[in-house]
């Protein structure tokens, strides 16, 4: 798929995606990136590099923790895990996101509104 057709990530949504991905279990940076790519069926344009500042931000906010572990192919990698606060944040952010989507779609597409 050409880059132009991919969906650009909205500001702030990367954090939400990372939290959601980690809700399924601990993962390292590369794992998170490929997981997001896979679940979005490659429709989302994510620079893998931009993941790391986001991970740092989340860890500083105590939403995730991390520790060194070994990857499937025997490399040292840092594994990230959701904290209790992260789980709570994921729930509220998800609700907010759904509400936003609902409102925006209502505006953009009044007839199909529920």
């Amino acid at each position: 798929m050409a880059d132009q057709e991919r969906v650009q990530l909205l500001q702030g949504t990367l954090d939400l995606l990372v939290l959601q991905t980690l809700a399924l279990g601990p993962l390292h940076g590369h794992g998170i990136a490929t997981s997001i790519q896979r679940t979005t069926q490659e429709e989302l344009l994510v620079d893998h590099g931009s993941l790391y500042p986001a991970l740092q931000r989340l860890e500083r906010a105590n939403l995730i923790t991390s520790e060194w572990g070994t990857s499937d192919n025997n490399r040292r990698a840092r594994y990230y895990k959701l904290t209790r606060a992260g789980r709570k944040r994921l729930a509220t952010e998800t609700r907010r996101w759904e509400a936003t989507v609902r409102v925006i779609s209502r505006v953009l597409n009044p007839r199909r509104a529920t």
């Binding site: 390292h28 893998h48 740092q56 500083r60 990698a77």
Partner: protein, 888 residues
């Protein structure tokens, strides 16, 4: 700066490892899909983005990152400043000088002129003096005698309360005071004030009480005194129980009734002891005038209404018993009312205001120089800034970096400026003549320090930022192109040239002003004062009334003392006089100014007798001072021992009455007793070298009137350094009278120096300021020329490549610098004329519009301008054209 690992939230190494791991996994995945290692690596990077940028962004998340970046900025700036020491030194020096010098000067002016006196409601506190005209061409301000004082006190409508202060320590102006009874006598500076005067001034004692009106008024009142804070602390160990105790003064018991606070310094800072001034309201005394009149203005009264009121009363002096000639001829019927502060500050005002103007000039020059330096610097860095932007640096970062340089230079300049201000103030106060009042109240004025520092630093930063902001906002390519070809906008050039012109103009004005002061000073120093001041030691003594009963005893003491002093090895002559020349006196005259009648020239009825300065002198005085004898002889022992009634007159007095004949043997009456003229001596400048000489009548220590004098200034001429004989002189005095205090020990040269200290002080400060201004002006021209020449290197190369010879290119560029210089000189000359008018009252023997001085200034500044322009130009024309054309 290395921040220790444990301080970091996460080490950079860990972050790098994590990112590397990510890439490795990605590469492996691509390899597994069958890509070549090279392709796999490229694909992984494409997916990831720029690892370096990611790492950087991750680092910026670190809380310590800002600190770290700041330190890096500072280090980078310091490195860049080290690489251009010329700019750094010039900028820091200029800032330091403009902050330091101006703050120091302003602090002096503020301490003396601007800060209110330490009295409650100082604007209502006034002093009244009388205008008198002892000579047709001289006006002198006089204090009051009792008759006039009480006339004003009782009949005025504008003063709420009136006090009297003795103008001289002793009642007759020449007795000495000392603490006695405890080892060597401790000399005291005494002020007499009426009880009301303490209340007029309104400063309560810190311990004890004021004298009562009874203590103040009855002539035989109790001997009580108040101590100064300094005396209380140094001699009485700040013992609070001193109040009520008795101390020995001149051998008699006095009761201490209080201690004044340290801030109380009236009428002079040097006062050790205040004693009640006992005045008699019934007295008909009209002289000698010794009462300073101080008062609180009544509610509603102004300086103007009080002046009118005082003049009305002075005009009525004839009706209350003043002789007709006092009111008609001596007094001009004028009174002067002004605040005590104006009275204290008096003649120091103008020199200090001139210094204030000097400070403003210096600050202006300094600021424009700083502005110039920073602007040139910032423009030089504009290319660097543009390159940074082109390479992806944020514009904010670029401005930040340029600003960092300004801030660092400003800080360095500011700190050295503050240090310079403190050092400079100390030097100024040490250098200032003792005649400038309130010197001890001077401290660094923090407001001014902040102001000058703020102005000069702001000037630097503003001009550092302007080009930086322009760089940041303009299109990068334009800046790069402009930087290479060396074109700066015309508008920027105009500002800079304007600044240089202003600098040259201001510096020239200061130069002319200081040259005028130097010429005044040398003219003053060149005046022959009428005596030879070199190698003469002087001091004052006043044998105590309790030990030497009458005039005869005292005169005998002086005879013995002088005889013994003449015997000391190294002493060539010794004598004494009642008033030493140039030490001031009543109303600034060299001694009592008394009516003088001459037998051969009787006065018309009602006409006043002309005044002469009256002095007593011992044998040996004229020989010691090298005052030339015009005719006749000097005093001999017989003159006073046998009361011969001998007088010696000054040359100008002789010429007035006997221009072509001898004055010897003629009779003159002054200070009550007739005397026969035995000699004529040369005129002496009595008050200051630039003051007119006054006619003087000298009499011997004793005459038929009974006469006599207690306190005298002893003068000793030596063959070597006069201070070397001092220990032996002291021993001689102690042998004769261990209780006798010796005061005002100094060389005659110091006395003369002090009398022109006002001029020398103003001169020194102006010369310093002018030197600094000249230097700054030269730096300004040099800076702009050097920069301009660098900008025109390409043009210079082109001209030379096309066949212009070095000399013509040199002339072309030099003309540019000289035109700025010349314009500055023209403006500066105009400013000098204005400054000269302000200075005129401080000048002596030189016109404020002195052509020679103006010419000198023009020549000096042309030379400085030419030199400052020629150096960079000559460097530029020596660059081979091919190198110049290649540029950069």
């Amino acid at each position: 700066m290395k921040i220790p690992k444990w301080l970091r939230w996460r080490s950079y190494d860990e972050m790098d490892e994590e990112i590397d791991a990510h890439l490795a996994i990605e590469v492996q995945a691509h390899l597994a899909r069958g890509l070549s290692p090279e392709e796999a690596r490229r694909a992984a990077l494409r997916q990831f983005g720029n690892p370096a940028a990611v790492k950087q962004r991750a680092r910026e998340n670190d809380p310590l990152f800002r600190v770290e970046r700041f330190v890096t900025d500072v280090r980078q700036t310091l490195r860049s400043l080290r690489r251009s020491p010329g700019f750094t030194i010039a900028a820091v020096l200029t800032l330091a000088v403009s902050i330091g010098a101006t703050t120091a000067i302003f602090s002096v002016v503020d301490g003396v002129l601007l800060r209110p006196m330490p009295f409650p409601d100082p604007d209502r506190l006034v002093r009244v003096t009388l205008y008198t005209q002892p000579q047709a061409n001289a006006t002198v301000e006089m204090p009051f005698a009792e008759l006039g004082f009480f006339h004003l006190l009782n009949n005025n409508r504008t003063f709420a309360k009136v006090g009297g202060v003795s103008v001289f320590a002793g009642a007759n102006g020449n007795d000495e005071w000392a603490l006695t009874g405890n080892g060597a006598p401790y000399p005291l500076a005494v002020a007499r004030m009426t009880a009301a005067a303490f209340e007029v001034l309104g400063v309560p004692p810190q311990l004890g009480r004021f004298p009562t009106a009874a203590e103040g008024q009855s002539r035989g009142g109790a001997p009580v005194l108040l101590l100064s804070d300094t005396l209380w602390r140094t001699v009485f160990n700040a013992n609070p129980s001193i109040v009520g105790r008795t101390v020995q003064v001149n051998g008699a018991p006095w009761e201490v009734i209080g201690v004044m606070p340290a801030s109380f310094k009236f009428p002079q800072p040097s006062v050790d002891v205040w004693i009640p001034y006992r005045l008699d309201p019934a007295s008909k005394s009209i002289g000698p005038p010794n009462i300073g009149f101080i008062a609180r203005l009544a509610p509603g009264a102004t300086i103007e209404s009080a002046t009118a009121d005082a003049e009305r009363l002075v005009a009525g002096f004839a009706e209350i018993g003043y002789p007709l000639n006092w009111t008609r001829d001596i007094l001009t019927g004028k009174a002067h009312v002004r605040t005590v502060k104006d009275d204290v500050v008096g003649r120091s005002r103008r020199p200090l205001l001139v210094l204030l103007g000097t400070m403003a000039f210096l600050l202006l020059i300094g600021c424009s120089n700083v502005a110039n330096l920073f602007q040139v610097r910032a423009e030089a860095r504009a290319v660097e800034a543009a390159i940074r932007v082109a390479l992806g640096s944020g514009r904010r970062r670029v401005v930040q970096l340029l600003l960092a340089e300004g801030v660092i230079v400003a800080l360095a300049g500011g700190i050295s400026g503050i240090a310079l201000a403190y050092a400079g103030l100390r030097a100024l106060v040490a250098m200032a003549p003792a005649s400038i009042p309130r010197l001890d109240e001077i401290g660094i004025n923090l407001t001014v320090l902040v102001f000058t520092a703020g102005v000069s630093v702001a000037a630097g930063l503003l001009f550092a930022l302007l080009p930086a902001l322009r760089t940041a906002s303009s299109r990068v390519l334009d800046s790069l192109r402009a930087g290479r070809s060396g074109n700066t906008s015309r508008e920027r050039h105009v500002t800079r040239r304007g600044l240089v012109v202003a600098q040259v103009a201001l510096a020239l004005a200061l130069f002319v002003g200081s040259t005028l002061m130097v010429r005044s000073f040398s003219a003053l120093s060149a005046i022959n004062p009428g005596f030879d001041a070199s190698r003469v030691l002087t001091f004052r003594i006043a044998p105590a009334e309790t030990r030497y009963r009458g005039g005869e005893d005292t005169a005998r003491f002086y005879d013995t003392l002088l005889e013994r002093i003449r015997g000391i090895p190294g002493v060539t002559a010794a004598g004494a006089t009642s008033f030493l020349p140039m030490t001031g006196g009543i109303g600034g005259l060299g001694g009592p100014f008394l009516p003088t009648t001459i037998e051969d020239f009787p006065l018309d009825d009602g006409a006043r007798a002309p005044n002469s300065v009256f002095r007593r002198a011992t044998p040996g005085y004229f020989e010691t001072m090298h005052i030339p004898v015009i005719e006749g002889r000097t005093f001999i022992a017989d003159d006073h021992q046998r009361r011969l009634g001998s007088a010696i007159i000054s040359e100008s007095l002789k010429n007035k009455y006997w221009p072509r004949s001898s004055a010897l043997g003629k009779k003159v009456t002054i200070a009550g007793a007739p005397a026969r003229i035995v000699g004529v001596v040369g005129d002496v400048h009595d008050t200051a070298p630039d003051a007119p000489t006054e006619p003087v009548v000298y009499k011997a220590m004793l005459d038929e009137s009974g006469g006599g004098v207690r306190g005298m200034a002893v003068t000793i001429r030596t063959s070597g350094d006069p201070l070397e004989v001092l220990p032996e002189v002291r021993r001689t005095i102690t042998e004769l009278d261990p209780e006798l205090p010796v005061s005002d020990i100094q060389t005659m040269q110091t006395v003369v120096g002090a009398s022109i200290s006002r001029t020398s002080f103003t001169m020194t400060v102006l010369v310093l300021a002018a030197g600094i201004a000249l230097f700054l002006g030269a730096v300004g021209i040099y800076g702009v020329m050097a920069y301009g020449v660098v900008q025109r290197t390409g043009e210079i190369g082109l001209r030379q490549a096309l066949g212009a010879d070095r000399a013509s290119v040199f002339r072309l560029i030099l003309r540019d610098g000289l035109s700025m210089d010349a314009l500055g000189i023209v403006v500066g000359l105009a400013a000098s004329l204005g400054l000269g008018r302000t200075l005129s009252s401080l000048l002596y023997g030189v016109s404020p519009y002195d052509g020679l001085t103006l010419l000198l200034g023009t020549v000096v500044f042309l030379a400085v301008g030419a030199l400052a322009s020629a150096i960079p130009v000559s460097r530029a024309v020596r660059v081979p054209p091919i190198v110049a054309l290649r540029g950069d």
